[in-house]
């Protein structure tokens, strides 16, 4: 198919239109709007970097960035720990491995909104009851403080996504040649040595993939945030995505919210480009 062939363009027209109208044009408009005082309707005036200067001084927005960063770091660590642990369990020759895979993966298929509501019940009612039963004070009043809201979100996300990360690790673990492990066994390597010297290096690429995947997903979380804590108490567990939605649609500050959205894009893009850079570097080394 050549550039001039009508078939080439016919095949591409629907997606060019869709991507153009839905993503590219709004994105470019968004960049322009972020430098104006546009409020969704009225004529606009160019105001330069005013929004950008303001947003870095806004406590609520900066809080949401810090909260999101802390959340992302904690979830990335826990997710990869559980993802790898689950993968190591279900790739062993045990009877229940298929059933367990099914169970661990299941939460991924259900929307974050619904899971957040379920966990709201767990944290508030079930934790309360268990705490009472065991006499543990710290299990009472979950989600009513910033700290418990934070860990609530981390636990929910780890539980939901660990099965997904497990699938990625499984793909790599199952590619390790069995002979390699057998040979090491015959040579008398302990199971820890086998893990450290064979399994771990061969699974390292999965670690890079999972780390960036979890990092960018944790950054973009909205549904779970909405249904589990709704940003409370006092907006202290509000993440960036939710902060932007609220600035736009609750406070009706469209262009100001758009400036925040541009900063959000820059953060997410830097994370993703770092990943691309590392993947390229690794491929060269291999």
């Amino acid at each position: 198919m050549q550039n001039r062939s009508p078939a080439f363009w016919l095949f591409l027209t629907p997606v060019i239109l869709a991507l153009g109208i839905v993503v590219v044009i709004p994105f470019l408009y968004g960049l322009v709007y972020s430098f104006t005082d546009w409020n969704g309707l009225a004529a606009t005036e160019f105001i330069g970097f005013e929004h950008y200067i303001n947003l870095f001084q806004e406590k609520e927005f900066m809080n949401s960035i810090w909260f999101t960063l802390k959340f992302a770091v904690a979830s990335v660590l826990l997710l990869n720990f559980f993802g790898l642990a689950l993968a190591l369990i279900v790739t062993r020759n045990i009877k229940t491995n298929n059933l367990l895979r099914t169970v661990f993966f299941m939460p991924n298929l259900i929307g974050g909104l619904i899971l957040g509501f379920i966990w709201q019940f767990i944290f508030v009612s079930v934790f309360g009851d268990i705490g009472e039963l065991l006499g543990v004070e710290s299990m009472q009043g979950w989600l009513s403080t910033t700290e418990t809201g934070f860990w609530g979100l981390v636990i929910l996300t780890s539980w939901q996504m660990a099965g997904y990360i497990m699938i990625i690790y499984i793909a790599y673990l199952e590619n390790i040649p069995k002979e390699l492990i057998e040979a090491a066994k015959i040579d008398g390597a302990s199971s820890f040595q086998r893990f450290k010297n064979i399994t771990f290096p061969l699974v390292a690429p999965a670690f890079t993939i999972s780390m960036f995947l979890t990092l960018s997903t944790s950054f973009k979380i909205y549904d779970q945030n909405l249904s589990l804590t709704n940003g409370g108490p006092y907006n202290s567990t509000q993440m960036v995505a939710m902060e932007i939605v609220r600035t736009a649609f609750s406070d009706n500050q469209m262009s100001y919210a758009q400036a925040k959205a541009v900063i959000f894009f820059l953060i997410v893009a830097v994370v993703a480009l770092t990943q691309v850079y590392y993947n390229k570097k690794r491929e060269v080394e291999m």
């Binding site: 198919m1 050549q2 078939a7 095949f11 591409l12 629907p14 997606v15 869709a18 991507l19 109208i21 839905v22 993503v23 044009i25 709004p26 994105f27 968004g30 369990i89 279900v90 062993r92 045990i94 229940t96 367990l100 895979r101 099914t102 169970v103 661990f104 993966f105 299941m106 298929l109 929307g111 974050g112 909104l113 899971l115 509501f117 379920i118 966990w119 767990i122 009612s125 009851d129 268990i130 539980w159 997904y164 699938i167 990625i168 793909a171 199971s191 909205y222 549904d223 960036v240 995505a241 932007i244 939605v245 736009a248 919210a257 959205a261 959000f264 894009f265 997410v268 893009a269 480009l273």
Partner: protein, 273 residues
Amino acid sequence: MKNQEKKSLFSIEILGIILGFLWIAPFYLMIVNAFKTKRDIFSGVLGFPAEWEFDNFVQAFIDLAFLKSLFNSVLITGLSVGIIVIFSSMAGYALARNKSKLSGVMFFVFVAAMLIPFQSVMIPLISIFGQADMLNAAGLIFMYLGFGCSLSIFLYHGAMTGVSKSLDEAAIIDGASRFQLFWKIIFPLLKPISVTVAILNVIWIWNDYLLPSLVLSEANATIPLKMFYFFGQYTKQWHLALAGLTIAIIPVIIGYFFAQKQIINGVSEGAVK
């Protein structure tokens, strides 16, 4: 030696089973409490209900307008995924078969668009579609094509490397048009990747909340959207809320039961690439 290995395998299995129970515990707690009365939940959430209360489900089913929300979800997800598969496979094919610089640049733009988070285009998008009077189901489906095509084209483009060019040439010599060639010969060969593309898109579109909440009116609400309204209505009435959540999850569990293998393979393929 052999014995010791069996022992360690056994302890791994036990650990796996304990974790498995931990993983389904939230679902267990949701279901048993959905069968309780309000007072029953108040007196304890861990055990079975004193009396199995089915009325919760009846009321939740009615208040969720469940059949209607289910229909809306099926319609929007089905049509969106259908057009994503059709148009992305065509585009992936065209881009893979054209080695020009322009084609390379277009492919790059499609892939690079994946970097843009939803919130960064959301505000102008809603404003543009609002002005065009397109904040409705049709507009939403078109938006899903825009958001879903990038990854889908990327996957189809990759799969095309396994489809020999001599097939194209032979068909063209036989007098087939590009459309016939694509739909009769190429598309059937792309079936495995089509399954992957369909599964990945079904999972996110079915569960998507934010975009439909900005686009659809309450009358056309999908399941997640309706769930949100429903939950707001029943705060502090966990017996009804949990029954509603249970109902909302059932279609997903049924789908998972029938297509478990394809789902896990599809997700694995989509993630590793």
